[in-house]
Amino acid sequence: MAIRPLQDILKAELGDLLAGEATSFLDLFAEHGVLECPFAPDGAMHQLIGKPAIAAYLKQLGAIQGSGGMELTGSYVTPARDWHVLEYRGLVENRRDGTSYAEQYLAVVRTEDGRITLFREYWNPVPVVASFGPDGPLPLGEVA
């Protein structure tokens, strides 16, 4: 399967559920959208509420951690098409030391009125902690 940026996978799987003009992952979110990471280490972000908070966090994270793109391994949707669950995997780059590790994901995605209102991304914290330390790439105390 092709390796693509996560936002391209989301656009392909969610299709007409997403308003057309979004160009970045952040753009796919509603203003009141929520980003969650349930398996994050205790000292790391578990929930961001609202697009401004998500934008600020992703900008800060981007300097520390990068993605080489994802490979979609599973895609499921409710009959009403309001919830998607996607499984994907990819390499994560530690921008501090240039090393990479393999990661696997399951995302629970809710869409309403053309935008993502909930993106709950489960990932394995073990390689994250091994690469970045016990609180991951962006410990809570360092979030701007």
Binding site: F39, P79, L106, V108, Y122, V126
Partner: protein, 140 residues
């Protein structure tokens, strides 16, 4: 095959799936087809994938009694097209050896075929298991 620690999980799944699940009995493995696949991508020692009930019975025998799961609570259930159900749930368990709490959170992909499960892919947070192992070694 009898795995008492899995009674709470079995209870949650059978109630959540209701009449979509027609198990052959009341045990955990009775919910599954003989050729079912059991997939645990975030298992603490590395990914675990077991094909078939017979092999799963062996795997379960090796870990039975390690955790008292006590109760599984369903947080959300998403019935998908193509006989897939995704579930988010948690337990308020206890590690049997150390007595330490085991408050684990899960998300799972289940696939149904003719009233029984053909796939269970369950994700959990292995940091919890590792913390208990470390605390146990440290003599906590």
């Amino acid at each position: 095959m009898d795995f008492p620690s899995l009674i709470p999980f079995t209870r949650m799944v059978t109630r959540a799936l209701a009449d979509r699940l027609v198990p052959t009995g009341s045990e955990y493995l009775d919910m599954f087809h003989d050729d079912a696949v059991f997939d645990f991508p975030f298992s603490p020692g590395g990914p675990v994938r077991v094909e078939g009930k017979a092999k799963m019975a062996e795997f379960l025998s090796s870990i039975e009694g390690g955790t008292d799961f006590r109760e599984f609570s369903l947080d959300a259930s998403y019935p998908m097209t193509g006989d897939i159900v995704v579930m988010e749930y948690h337990c308020r368990g206890r590690d049997a050896k150390s007595g330490l709490p085991y408050p684990q959170r899960y998300v799972a992909v289940l696939q149904l075929r003719d009233g029984r499960l053909s796939l269970l892919r369950e994700y959990l947070n292995p940091l919890l298991n590792m913390a208990i192992t470390a605390a146990t070694k440290a003599g906590a």
